[in-house]
Amino acid sequence: MTKRVYMDYAATTPVDPCVIEEMNRYLGPSDLFANPASSHWAGAEAKKAVEGARERIAHKLGAHPTEIVWTSGATESNNLALKGVAAYYQTKGRHIVTARTEHKAVLDSAQALQSEGFEVTFLTPDESGVVHPDQIKSVLRNDTILVSLMHVNNEIGVIQDIHAVADICRARGVLFHVDGAQSVGKLPIDLSRLPVDLLSFCAHKIYGPKGVGGLFVRRHPKVNLSPLQHGGGHEYGFRSGTVPSHLVTGFAHAVELAVDHMGVESTRIGTLKKRLYDGLRDTPRILLNGAVGTTVPNILNVSFAGVEGESLLHGLRNLAVSSGSACASASREPSYVLRALGRDDALAQASIRFSLGRFSTESEVDFASALVAEQVARLRDLAPECLISDI
C-alpha cells in the first residue's frame, strides 16, 4: 500500500481514544443518554454530566462555569459573538474592528453585519501576519462596540498579542472577542488574568469531536448577547437547543488532556516542526509565511517559488496537507490570508500548510520533507527555463 501521512492537524484531529470512551457512555444503553433538560433522575444525571463538563472546561481556562456557553462549533461561537454583541449593543454604537486574516466565520459574520448597516474596519496585518496593538488603538472610535481578533491564525500559525489588545479595549470600554479555535489547548490561556470578554473555541482541533464548541462570555464585567438560536432558553438564554451530552463531555475531556499535556506536547511538536523546516530548507527558493518565533509549534506554512500550486498539491497527494488555495471548490482563488500578507497569487497558491499533532512522528516529518523536495524539484524541472528567475 502507498504510504500516506496525515499532516493536517490544524484542519481537524482524530478523537483521542479516552475521549471516545467518555462520549460513548452518554449514548446508551445506560440512562446517561437522557435529555439533560428532563426533570427525572436520568435527566438529572445527564445534566450533572453536562454541568460537570462546563466546570471542567471553565477550570482549565480560568473561567467560571456560568461563563461557558455550548455551541455547535467555533463557527457558531464566532457568529454568536459578533452578531450577538452587535444586536445587543447596537444602540451604543455600530462600529466593529477586525482583521483581514481572520477565519471566514468572523469575516463573513462581519460582512453580514455590514449589510445590516454596521461599519466594519478590516485591519491589514504586517507581512508576517501580525496585527499590531497600535493599529487597533488607532482605529477605535467612540461608537466602536467590538474588536474581534484571532489568537492564532489557522493558515500560518501566527500568534497575536491578545493581552495587549485586551488591555487597550478594556481601557476604552470596547468589548474584545478572540477566536481561539487554534489556540485553546495549545497555548496557555488564563481568563482570570486575560481581560478578553468573549472567546470562541471548539473540540475538533484538540482531539475532541466535531459538532461542538464553546463561547466564553464574561460575567464580570458582564457581557450581554442577543441569542441567534431561540427555543426554550437553554444556556442562560444565549443558545437554545438540546445539549448534546456526549459531545460536551467529550469536549471537556479533550480540553483537559490538551491543557494538561500542553507543555510536553508543544515542545515535542516544536522539535518536529524544526526538523521539518530544516528538511524543507534543502529545497532552494522557499519562503516562510509567518516569521520564526511568532508562530505556534504545530503550524508551518511555506511558499514554493516556481511551482504551480495545484500540481504541487497533487504531487504531495500522499501527504494530507492544506494548500494556499481557498475553499473546497474547483476555483483557483488564492488564500486571502497569504494575499493579505503580500504574497502574489502564484506564490500564495504554491503554499503549503503543514500542521503537526499528537500522533506525528519524526519519520512522518522526514517522509514529508523528502516528498516535498522530490516533487518541487521535479515540477521545477518541467517548467520553461525562463520562469526560473521569473517567479
Binding site: 504551480e308 495545484e310 500540481s311 474547483a330 476555483s331 518541467l382 517548467a383 520553461p384
Partner: protein, 128 residues
C-alpha cells in the same frame, strides 16, 4: 484546498506521473519549430519544440508550468504530433484536447493556451 484526486482523468494522472518527453530538443534550432504561450498569472505557461524533417514531425519536447491538466495537455499534444505530418500542428483543436483528457470546463483555458502555442509552431512550419 484544491481540486480533488477524483477530478483527474486516468490520462491526466498518467501524464502527471510520467511526463515523458518533457525538456528541450538537443538539435540545432534550424531543425525545429518553437511555440510558447501563457503567463504565470494565468497559472499556465507552455513551450513546445518540434523537430521537423520535410513534411514530418520526427521528435518533440515541451516544458510546462501549470496544473496537472496543463502538464497532461502539453505531453499529450506532443505524443499526438510525433510521427505525423507537419500540417497536423495547426489542426489540433482545444475541444480535442479537452475530450482526450476529460478537462472540466473551468480548465478549458489550458487547452486554449496550448492551441495558441501550437499555432506559433504551425506558423513557423509554413514559413519554412
Amino acid at each position: 484546498m484544491a481540486i480533488r484526486d477524483l477530478e483527474y482523468s486516468p490520462t491526466v494522472l498518467a501524464y502527471f506521473d510520467q511526463p515523458h518527453r518533457a525538456g528541450t530538443l538537443k538539435v540545432p534550432k534550424t531543425q525545429m519549430v518553437e511555440g510558447r504561450s501563457g503567463t504565470t498569472r494565468e497559472g499556465f505557461v507552455v513551450q513546445f519544440q518540434l523537430q521537423v524533417a520535410g513534411q514530418a514531425i520526427t521528435d518533440g519536447r515541451y516544458r510546462v508550468y501549470g496544473c496537472p491538466h496543463g502538464i497532461a495537455a502539453a505531453a499529450w499534444v506532443v505524443d499526438q504530433l510525433i510521427g505525423g505530418a507537419t500540417r497536423n500542428v495547426g489542426q489540433i483543436r482545444p475541444q480535442q484536447i479537452a475530450e482526450a483528457l476529460d478537462l472540466p470546463v473551468e480548465k478549458m483555458y489550458v487547452a486554449l493556451i496550448v492551441e495558441d502555442a501550437l499555432k506559433q509552431c504551425a506558423a513557423q512550419v509554413e514559413e519554412e
